[in-house]
């Protein structure tokens, strides 16, 4: 009985498994897999909100949420107290009985789902070795114990001050409306809240504070605040998912609504505030001189200091007890963030966009002295460069400011018009601040990336909670375009060869995976989709078609909310190229690229004329090396019976199997007579041209269908590149043959000579095969495959050796 139940159990398991992967239509006979199957049932059905061309439909709608926030920052206790008045405009066709808000700070509560669902994945202790816990983890545990995190929601009231029923569900809060909110109506309500700002250094979040304990010791040190996800925000209500109210676990970022913001921040009076939007009360918070400098910066050639390093140093010496209120306003943004510190140096430079709706954009950077010249030389300039490049590929930057703030506890993080970036300088013993070449490259790379996010997803408002790749992948693709325009000598991402290790790995998930379920987020949601888009642009579509379609996508969805299907569809619609196979392969599967050239046959066309063909066949027969054993007999001086008895001969000694008789000639003539005129012409021409026919056998080892690009080298030394489209695989996705006709002799063939398709195994790209040295072998024989890492500084100090010394050295080597 036991055995039987086991068998049944197995069957059930299998059935469930295959069911999970079924997508409605299945190939249930044979093994054929249609890699070019249209994404019909995979993509959502087009509707009035999102049409089949990937554009916003004729009844597209999105909600609008306007915020009026007053908030005060207490530096001593690192606490924020706020009050927000929210106006929610229901543009959906639906009636809403309740609203959902995101309480992202609740993720840091010690009973949050993010905390409670995190697992320990280290080794369990045994007699030989204890379990290990890092000092960082220990500090985190203690910090979580000591400080209460998460929002304190003190009041939720309607426009007339009446309390509204609200229910907190983890990182979410539902507000029950007194009256149903019908389509076209709006509702106003107010939330009073507070929370302890988290330590950025300990929790590694997307914001928080950094402590400078050695400065202003009288006040227990200075702080730099990166205030992000700092107010209860409306959850997006969408046509494709309704409320996007999924618990915040940390990976999937945000899905938000556009709206107008008016924010008043009350901070210590010596703080400098950087924020989304435009400063409304410069007269009250900035000095006359600072305002003059700002005006000067609008048309300056290089960034102008609004707060100089010396002034910031002076400002950081001691604290104050009074406060100032900074007022900012931002229109049509999906979020709002700000930074505040008395340590800030501040520089600015205007970007002119003639003819654009926003003709002047102020690019600005805020950084503590630790940013040094790395920041003053590059940050603001990189901001401007990024805006110029991204605008060329999408749309003019529509906002008045673009800000880069240095917060060294995080790598980089983006919000509308404001980004926080980590790279910083190192203090040397002599008091100077230096930075390495790679730190400089990181600063340029991360600022381009985070400013790039101002477009994707801050304006092209994709759903980050659901699909990380839509903003990170697209932005990583475009940041490498902008990066190469900054300095082509810096190695940027999206090189196809760099993604192959990930793509052959066994633990990956498809790119089309909800953010919290993605494994290896960096490779999955950044590098792989960015590389895919680069390949699409450079290899599949070509720059002209790709750039047109990409711009179309950007402009159609500017200030709107695209989904993956909108992107996939627009790229096809605008370019006229069927890309379903590409999306399917790169975004919906975990296949990798590995195309092999298994065999090449060299052929010559038969003339059918026996007087020609039989001679040729005789030559072929002769060219095959004779029996080794007969050769050895001959070498031993042995003579055969036939050789020794030349007097005995008959017909067969003078004629072989290739001797042509009239039987063959008659047959040839009747063959010719039987040909139609066009057949005869084709044969005659082929015989006259006498070309080489090559049959190439390819196999698709990796599974991902891609174009086959071959470089053919001929016997005369000339080379030719031939590009076969991916559709070559449509009937036979595993193995295909291709006939190649040439008047020249082919010496060898290589697939993907420029390494542009992410082909993982190079060895099977060559015919005939050649041994491809591993990296280690190349390194040993060639002293390294790159000169980028040369010790220039050290090498330049080396003295030129005399000949004698060189001789001595080579003897030692021997």
């Amino acid at each position: 009985m036991k055995k039987l139940s086991l068998v049944i159990g197995l069957f059930v398991l299998i059935a469930v498994n295959s069911g999970a992967f079924a997508q409605g239509i299945q190939q249930t006979k044979g093994t054929f897999e249609d890699k070019f199957r249209q994404l019909d049932e995979v993509l959502p059905t087009p509707n009035v909100y999102r049409n089949a061309a990937g554009q916003p439909g004729h009844q597209y709608w999105q909600q609008e949420v306007d915020y009026d926030i007053e908030v005060s920052l207490d530096e001593a206790t690192q606490r924020l107290d706020g009050s927000e008045t929210i106006n929610y405009q229901n543009n959906s066709p639906d009636t809403l009985n309740y609203l959902w808000l995101q309480l992202d700070q609740n993720r840091f509560r010690d009973d949050s789902m993010a905390e409670m669902s995190s697992t320990f994945r280290g080794s369990s202790p045994d007699e030989d070795s204890p379990a290990r816990l890092s000092m960082g983890q220990l500090r985190r545990l203690q910090y979580m114990e000591d400080v209460d995190h998460g929002y304190e929601i003190n009041a939720v009231t309607d426009g007339s001050g009446n309390a509204l029923a609200h229910t907190i569900v983890g990182t979410l809060m539902r507000i029950d409306l007194a009256r149903p909110l019908r389509s076209g109506q709006d509702v106003e309500f107010k939330i009073d809240y507070a929370y302890h700002i988290i330590s950025g250094e300990i929790l590694s979040p997307r914001g928080g504070y950094q402590h400078f304990p050695d400065e202003n010791e009288a006040d227990n040190g200075n702080y730099l605040f990166a205030l992000t996800q700092w107010f209860p925000r409306l959850v997006a209500y969408t046509d494709y998912e309704g409320w996007t109210n999924k618990e915040f676990l940390g990976s999937g970022e945000f899905t938000l609504e556009f709206g107008d913001y008016e924010v008043a921040m009350t901070v210590p009076s010596d703080h400098i505030v950087a924020a989304t939007g435009e400063l409304q009360n410069a007269n009250q918070v900035l000095t006359r001189e600072q305002r003059d400098r700002m005006e000067q910066a609008e048309t300056a050639e290089r960034p102008v200091f609004i707060v100089t390093p010396e002034e910031a140093l002076e400002n950081a010496q001691e604290g104050v007890s009074d406060t100032k209120t900074w007022r900012f306003a931002a229109e049509n943004v999906r979020d709002f963030a700000w930074g505040s510190s008395r340590n800030f140096i501040w520089d600015a430079k205007g970007l002119q966009q003639p003819g654009a709706e926003q003709e002047l954009v102020m690019a600005m950077s805020f950084y503590p002295k630790e940013g040094g010249t790395l920041w003053s030389d590059y940050s603001t300039e990189v901001v401007i460069h990024t805006l110029e490049v991204y605008s060329r590929f999408s749309f003019d930057f529509p906002y008045p400011t673009a800000i880069s703030v240095n917060a060294s506890f995080l790598g980089g993080m983006e919000y509308p018009m404001i980004s926080f970036n980590g790279p910083t300088t190192t203090l040397q013993d002599d008091g100077s601040r230096t930075y390495s070449l790679s730190e400089k490259r990181f600063l340029i790379g991360v600022v381009i990336h985070e400013i790039g996010h101002f477009y994707f997803p801050m304006i092209v408002n994709s759903d980050e909670r659901q699909w990380t790749w839509m903003d990170e992948g697209i932005n990583s693709y475009l940041d490498s375009v902008a990066g190469r325009e900054w300095d082509a000598d810096i190695p940027w991402g999206v090189e196809p060869k760099n993604i192959t290790d990930y793509m052959v790995s066994q633990n990956q998930v498809p790119v089309m995976t909800q953010s919290d379920s993605v494994r290896s987020l960096g490779s999955n949601a950044y590098s792989k989709p960015a590389t895919a888009l680069n390949i699409l642009r450079e290899t599949i579509m070509g720059r002209e078609l790709f750039d047109f379609a990409f711009m179309e996508y950007s402009r159609q969805w500017e200030f709107k909310r695209p989904t993956p299907s909108d992107f996939f569809r627009t790229m096809e619609e605008a370019s006229g190229i069927d890309l379903d196979w590409f999306w399917r392969g790169w975004f919906y599967t975990t296949d990798h690229v590995d195309i092999s050239l298994d065999r090449v046959y060299e052929m010559q066309i038969d003339t059918e004329n026996p007087d020609v063909d039989y001679d040729r066949q005789r030559d072929v027969e002769k060219s095959i090396s004779p029996s080794l054993f007969s050769d050895r007999n001959r070498e031993e001086g042995m003579h055969t019976w036939v050789e020794r008895n030349t007097d005995v001969r008959d017909f067969y000694d003078d004629n072989d199997q290739f001797t042509v008789t009239n039987v063959e000639r008659n047959s040839y003539n009747s063959f010719l007579n039987g040909l139609e005129d066009w057949e005869r012409a084709a044969l005659d021409r082929a015989v006259e041209e006498d070309l080489n026919y090559y049959l190439l056998e390819f196999s698709n080892v990796g599974g991902l269908v891609m174009p086959i690009i071959i470089e053919v080298e001929y016997a005369d030394g000339s080379k030719q590149v031939i590009r076969y489209p991916a559709e070559i695989w449509r009937r036979y996705p595993d193995n295909i043959k291709k006939l190649l006709v040439s008047d020249k002799d082919i010496r060898n063939i290589v697939i993907d000579p420029l390494r542009e398709t992410a082909d993982a195994d190079i060895e099977n790209n060559y015919y005939p095969r050649r041994i491809i040295p591993s990296r280690i072998e190349s390194f040993k024989f060639g002293g390294g495959s790159s000169r980028a890492g040369r010790d220039l500084i050290e090498d330049s100090k080396t003295e030129l050796k005399s000949e004698e010394e060189t001789d001595e050295e080579s003897e030692e080597e021997n």
Partner: protein, 188 residues
Amino acid sequence: MKSLKKKIRISFIALPHRQLFTVCVVILSFAVAGFSVEVLAHQQKTAVTRILFNSNSDSIEVMHRFFVHDAEHAAGVVFGESQNMLESADARELFSSYVINRFAIEAIDREGSVEELNLSYVGTEVDGQYVWVYQEVADPHNLASLNVINMTLRDVWPDQTNLVNVEKEGRVQSLEFVSEVDILSVDL
């Protein structure tokens, strides 16, 4: 070029003994806690190691690939001063010494006996965004499985993710080192 190589060898031998690093694992960890959520909107902190059974050279080759920027910061934390990896061969050698002390392979042969593979250090180089560190050992041809220990950079920041691909006769098997995972096994 020859004299450069000689210099490398000397500076490598002069490095602190490996025992020192093993003891320091916990103390060196300064960074944020290990809940393995990639919170940065900018991707870094991922490394890839290929363990390749190379039949041409009859050896097991280990090729570690790190982002230069990650490596530089990690080395700065571990060795206590700023490291310029793009410019200084010494800095790269110092980082390599760290890597080879954070990585080990225990080999289980077909008889079931366990022995740590004596990986020898081949060298290091920078290629594009990456710094590579190479190790190798002769293929004993009798291995049944491997226990791979990979702590590289993960004792510096726990959100480091290390992918290890074990490639033998065209077959790839992957190991993913995240949060506290320190040892993973693969059958050959």
